[in-house]
Point group: C2
Chain length 146, copies 2
Amino acid sequence: MRVSELAQRTGASPRALRHYDANGLLPSQRLANGYRDFPEQAIERVRRIRLLLAIGLDLEDVAQLLPCFAETGELTPCDRAQERLRGQIADIDAKMSALRATRRMLAGELRQWAGPPAERDPARSPDRPPAEHAEGPREERRHEEL
Amino acid sequence: MRVSELAQRTGASPRALRHYDANGLLPSQRLANGYRDFPEQAIERVRRIRLLLAIGLDLEDVAQLLPCFAETGELTPCDRAQERLRGQIADIDAKMSALRATRRMLAGELRQWAGPPAERDPARSPDRPPAEHAEGPREERRHEEL
DNA sequence: TTAAACTTTGCCACCGGCGTCAAGGTCAAG
DNA sequence: CTTGACCTTGACGCCGGTGGCAAAGTTTAA
């Protein structure tokens, strides 16, 4: 299939896909006319790429990680990849706990400062976990289903 | 105290501190000669700033959030701040679950590909969670939704 | 006095993923 | 043929925190 199809089937922009390709993350053939020709495989692959990116890895990291996901019998760089992944996991865990701490502090402060019970949506109290707010006159930037 | 002292007492670079100051995050007096003069308070404040930044907020968000942390009786912009914070929390939660998924996949693949037991440190197997070196974040099983 | 160590402000560089032209090739439909 | 959708490569822009450099003033040590 060609870029735009892959694009709409994955949710990534054609630009992004070419970018992945350019960085060797996305194997593609070329048709006689020079157009990229992606295999069905690519869909799965793009999903993986985006997942890894969403985690906070950069393209280079992703490139290292991908061969660990089978389908080719690569046996090489998974070593370093694991370490990177492990590092990312640790980072995120750290962020999480920092976040929790912050949320606690904030919630505590807000309770003091609270004063009059706002006429706000009562389902959203500062000391209750996320519950996924779906609002926004803001930008359309929604994160995918991951 | 002056920048460089605050810098080495907080771990931030003088450059960064001036940046925070320039953006109104870090209140400072000026000495007769024009040098910045930070109060002891600043140390705590910088810690907070960096914590928020580490979470993934930007300076503007941090600026909104800081007055919610007491010490001044500010009563204003915590509203939007809360929303931002909530959004960040959601993002991080998403990353976390993505991370967990990835770890699972990676671990699974590696089991297949494993072959000969590498002569690596046997304490670190790819399918066991981080285990955290020092005072690491808890392995909390709480919000698994999303 | 003079050099060294600090300070100030201001501006430019960088990173990285991708948006966004721009200039041009390909191809099916009218 | 022409139009228009789709493709190609290449280049520039952006964001935002920070590094780095420059020019200039201050303070301190020798």
